[in-house]
C-alpha cells in the first residue's frame, strides 16, 4: 500500500509540473505573458505540489506514516482551495456574454478555467488519498527511487517561473493588469 501511495504522490507532482510546463510553454509559444491572477494560480499549483512532495520526502527515510499523508494532503487541499478561489474570481470576471476572456483558449476553454478544473481535481485526489490512508500499515518499510528526479523537476519549473515573472515585472512591485511584454528588457 505504501508503494501505491508513493506512486500516487509521484504522479500527482508530475501532473502539476506538466500543467505548469504547459502554461509556461503556452506563454512562450503564443507570446502571451501571464496576467497577475494567472501568476497567482501558478503559485497555487506550485503550493499544491508541496503536499505530495512532503509525502515523497518522508519516503526517503524508508518509512511512511499516516501522519505524513495527513500533512501532505492537508497542504495540497489548502493550496488547491486558494487556487480555486483565484481561478473562480477570474472566471467570474469574464462571465458576461460577449466577453472574449483573457488570452487564447485551449481546447475551447481558457487557461484559468482549466486551472479551476485542475484545482478541483487536486482536492478530489487529496481527499481520496486521505481516505486510502485507512488501509496503510503503520511504519511499513519501502524504497522509492523517483523522489529526487521528481523534486528536481519541481524546483526547475519553479525557478523558470521565478525568472519569467522577474523579467515580466521588471523593477515594478506589481505586474500590469494586461501585460504585453517583459518590462525588464524594455527601455
Amino acid at each position: 500500500m505504501a508503494q501505491l501511495y508513493l506512486l500516487a504522490a509521484t504522479v500527482n507532482v508530475w501532473v502539476l509540473v506538466l500543467i505548469l510546463t504547459a502554461a509556461f510553454g503556452f506563454q512562450l509559444v503564443a507570446g502571451e505573458p501571464p496576467c497577475p491572477l494567472c501568476v497567482v494560480q501558478r503559485i497555487a499549483l506550485m503550493m499544491c505540489a508541496l503536499g505530495p512532495l512532503s509525502v515523497l520526502r518522508q519516503s526517503r527515510d524508508g518509512v511512511l506514516a499516516c501522519r505524513d499523508i495527513a500533512v501532505g494532503s492537508g497542504i495540497a487541499i489548502i493550496s488547491a482551495l486558494l487556487g480555486a478561489a483565484v481561478s473562480t474570481r477570474q472566471v467570474l470576471l469574464h462571465i458576461l456574454p460577449g466577453d472574449p476572456g483573457f488570452g487564447s483558449p485551449f481546447l475551447g476553454l481558457h487557461l484559468y478555467t482549466w486551472c479551476l478544473i485542475a484545482f478541483v481535481g487536486q482536492i478530489t485526489a487529496s481527499a481520496l488519498m486521505l481516505i486510502g490512508s485507512a488501509w496503510l500499515k503503520e511504519n511499513e518499510r519501502m524504497a522509492w527511487r523517483m523522489t529526487n528526479v521528481t523534486a528536481g523537476a519541481f524546483v526547475f519549473i519553479v525557478v523558470a517561473n521565478l525568472l519569467s515573472v522577474i523579467a515580466e515585472a521588471g523593477f515594478n512591485w506589481d505586474l500590469p493588469p494586461d501585460p504585453v511584454g517583459y518590462l525588464l528588457f524594455k527601455k
Binding site: 508541496l50 525557478v159 515573472v165 506589481d174
Partner: protein, 51 residues
C-alpha cells in the same frame, strides 16, 4: 516583484520540507497567508490584478 517573493517563499518552504526542518509548516502557512492577503486586497479594491 511581489510574485517573485511568493515563489521564493514556495522554494523556501520546499527547502525546509526537504530538510525536515521544524519551520516547514509555519513557512507554508505564511505563504498561504501572504498570497491570500494579496488576493483579498485585490478582491476588495477596484480591478487591479486582472485581466
Amino acid at each position: 516583484m511581489v510574485y517573485a517573493l511568493f515563489m521564493i517563499l514556495v522554494l523556501l518552504t520546499f527547502c525546509a520540507m526537504w530538510r525536515a526542518h521544524v519551520l516547514q509548516i509555519p513557512l507554508f502557512l505564511l505563504t498561504v497567508a501572504v498570497v491570500l492577503l494579496h488576493v483579498v486586497s485585490d478582491m476588495t479594491t477596484p480591478l487591479t490584478l486582472s485581466f
